[in-house]
């Protein structure tokens, strides 16, 4: 808001230029984002409210929702722990290979999700590096739930760490040192000093991580094997329903993902404000 006002006061473009610029942006958003979102809901309710709810009364759909929830329930907490550990290490210590670690954290953002999936197939698939050993020991990862969870963890890894690293770097480690000097244990220091300082940033990262974990298609698609009722997550189920010309059901499941997205956006907006306020406090501290 502030920057917008500043821009207006320093650059005195004529009214019509402003109008065209803003109009273009709004039009673009309407066509590219809002219209598709509305379409999802319109298509889902095309045959009435009853048909919408009947779509969920399907064993495969329910199984897909369940698998999505299970995957997120495993991937998000693990990435929460990994993310906090990695950002702690990066922000509070200096060590050999630190910049390499930061680059590695960003890797999942840089790589196409399909390739991330393939990597796991190459590692754990029947012809993969560990494939032989896994078959002998009767462990199935590819085309099974563990593979889906692994692929999801890989794709969603950066969200928590990316959010926390700058926040923790900004905060430094004076407070932690003060706590240790006052006799606090390492755990007490983390629980009473570090965690309260990063809680909003952490929650922000978790929300984004969760949204991606539930919505991931590419990586999961490669490792899943598309076994209906066993290895299909919600996005995969949407694809299958759509390919079967079951449009109402496809869009009905999509509405769940769309609602998740809207809810995520709302929380994101609120948390961004909280994080900004925490950083503001930090600045008045100096």
């Amino acid at each position: 808001m502030k920057t917008f006002n500043d821009a207006k006061s320093t650059q005195n473009e004529p009214k019509w230029v402003q109008f065209i610029l803003i109009g273009t942006a709004v039009l673009f958003l309407l066509v590219m984002l809002v219209a598709p979102l509305i379409t999802i809901f319109v298509e889902a309710f095309r045959k009435g409210v009853e048909a919408y709810f009947v779509s969920f009364n399907d064993a495969y759909v329910l199984q897909a929702i369940k698998l999505t929830l299970i995957t997120a329930a495993i991937a998000v907490p693990l990435n929460l722990v990994f993310g906090v550990c990695a950002s702690w290490a990066i922000a509070k210590y200096s060590f050999f290979g630190k910049s390499l670690l930061i680059t590695l954290i960003d890797l999942p953002f840089a790589v196409s999700p399909v390739i991330s999936g393939f990597v796991y197939v190459l590692l754990f698939g029947a012809q993969g590096w560990f494939g032989h050993w896994l078959i002998e020991n009767d462990v199935q990862i590819i085309f099974a739930v563990p593979g889906i969870v692994l692929a999801t963890i890989f794709v969603t890894f950066p969200f928590v760490a990316r959010e926390l690293i700058p926040l923790m770097q900004e905060q430094g480690n004076d407070e932690e040192q003060a706590a240790l000097l006052l006799g606090a244990s390492g755990f007490q220091t983390f629980w009473k000093v570090t965690l309260p300082n990063i809680k909003w940033g952490l929650l922000y990262g978790v929300i984004l991580c969760n949204a991606r974990a539930m919505g991931e298609f590419g990586a999961v698609s490669v490792v899943s094997g598309h076994i209906q009722g066993v290895t299909n997550t919600m996005p995969l189920q949407v694809e299958i329903l759509y390919n079967e010309y079951n449009f109402v059901a496809a869009f009905a499941v999509s509405t769940l993902l769309a609602i998740l997205a809207l809810f995520t956006l709302l929380l994101k907006y609120m948390l961004e404000w909280k994080v900004a306020r925490d950083l503001e406090k930090l600045k008045t501290d100096e």
């Binding site: 003060a178 706590a179 000097l181 006799g183 009473k192 300082n197 406090k281 501290d285």
Partner: protein
């Protein structure tokens, strides 16, 4: 508590932060570690606190009451530490900040809530911030924050108080008030205190003894009077205030005879501005003639800047009292004589 520091060396990569430091800290004293930035003074303080480790290959020791603390953890050292930027817990109130050290104690030693409340309120009175218990750090001024940080450190009744540039981030007036207050408080509590500062005025004002550190080495240890009036070497005299440099030789009658170059039998003489006197250019005592270039009347003393009459590039600074300044009727552009009241020279690092 007695603290003995024996043969401490600390390297950060190729950089030698501390080079064979030996120092005894006497119980109850306020010791200032004084030096320019990068001199190693903060490293030494952090090593006493345990925030920096003693290098494993090093045979140095830090002893608290004759016990080697090298292997002791930070929380076993009974240390109160105050940071330059306060390091208050920003999500806690003033009350909770001060109570922190008591609340994290193991169950057996932890005081009851009622005891904690009494103790914190007592400390709030001590730092003159009663009524601020429910404020958050960002609602306080810098000086108030540093007092809260001090109360937080004192709450666990440490045996040593370590202060890392505690007033460095405050403005001049608050700094002067706070250091006076700190000195009174320290005398009253009798707690052994080590203060790190780069501000010589601060060290001279509050410390019982000053350790002057430069490039990882101790240059001098002594009372404020000793280091100011009997500096051990050129670094100390330069660091503790302005100084005028002359090259010359002392004649038989005790008069300094100047020369423009530093020859074998000539030495460097370092004389403080207040140790020089402005005399008549005809005076037999004058060692040189100089032109008055600038006069600064603001301040408790008048600062007179002069240049050598025969060399405009050579500057001299003299401080005289306002009375003397008026009596002698010194004006800009005057040609005057300069007479040293004291002569001080260093040869091979030794002072005269």
């Amino acid at each position: 508590m007695t603290i003995e520091i024996k043969h401490i060396t600390k390297n950060f990569g190729n950089f030698i932060a501390l080079n064979n430091i030996n120092l005894n800290i006497v119980p109850g004293e306020l010791l200032a570690l004084l030096g320019p930035s990068g001199s190693g003074k903060t490293t030494l303080l952090r090593m006493i606190a345990g925030l920096e480790t003693i290098d494993e290959t090093d045979k140095g020791e830090i002893l608290f009451n004759n016990i080697n603390v090298a292997t002791k953890k930070i929380d076993e050292r009974d240390i109160g530490f105050v940071f330059q930027h306060y390091a208050l817990f920003r999500h806690m109130t003033v009350f909770e900040n001060i109570a922190f050290g008591l609340r994290v104690k193991p169950k057996k030693e932890r005081p009851s809530n009622e005891e904690i409340k009494q103790k914190v309120n007592k400390l709030l009175k001590l730092i003159q911030l009663d009524g601020f218990a429910t404020r958050f750090p960002w609602q306080l001024s810098g000086g108030q924050r540093q007092r809260v940080a001090l109360a937080r450190a004192l709450a666990v009744e440490p045996k040593v108080l370590l202060l890392d540039e505690p007033f460095g981030a405050l403005d001049a007036k608050v700094r002067a008030d706070l250091r006076k207050w700190l000195k009174e408080l320290q005398t009253q509590l009798g707690i052994t205190t080590v203060l790190v500062t780069h501000d010589q005025e601060e060290a001279l004002e509050v410390a019982d003894r000053i350790v002057v550190i430069n490039k990882g080495k101790i240059e001098q240890v002594g009372t404020p009077q000793e280091v100011f009036h009997n500096p051990a070497n050129e670094f100390v005299i330069n660091f503790l205030g302005s100084v005028n440099l002359f090259h010359g030789r002392v004649e038989e009658e005790g008069r300094l005879s100047l020369s423009s170059t530093l020859e074998n039998d000539h030495s460097k003489f370092l004389i403080r501005p207040h140790e020089l006197e402005i005399v008549s250019p005809n005076s037999a005592d004058a060692i040189l003639l100089a032109t008055v270039k600038y006069v600064q009347l603001a301040g408790s003393q008048v600062k007179v800047e002069l240049t050598h009459l025969d060399n405009e590039q050579k500057h001299i600074l003299v401080e005289v009292s306002h009375y003397e300044f008026n009596d002698k009727n010194i004006k800009k552009g005057d040609i005057v004589g300069i007479r040293p009241r004291e002569l001080r020279t260093f040869q091979d690092g030794a002072g005269i």
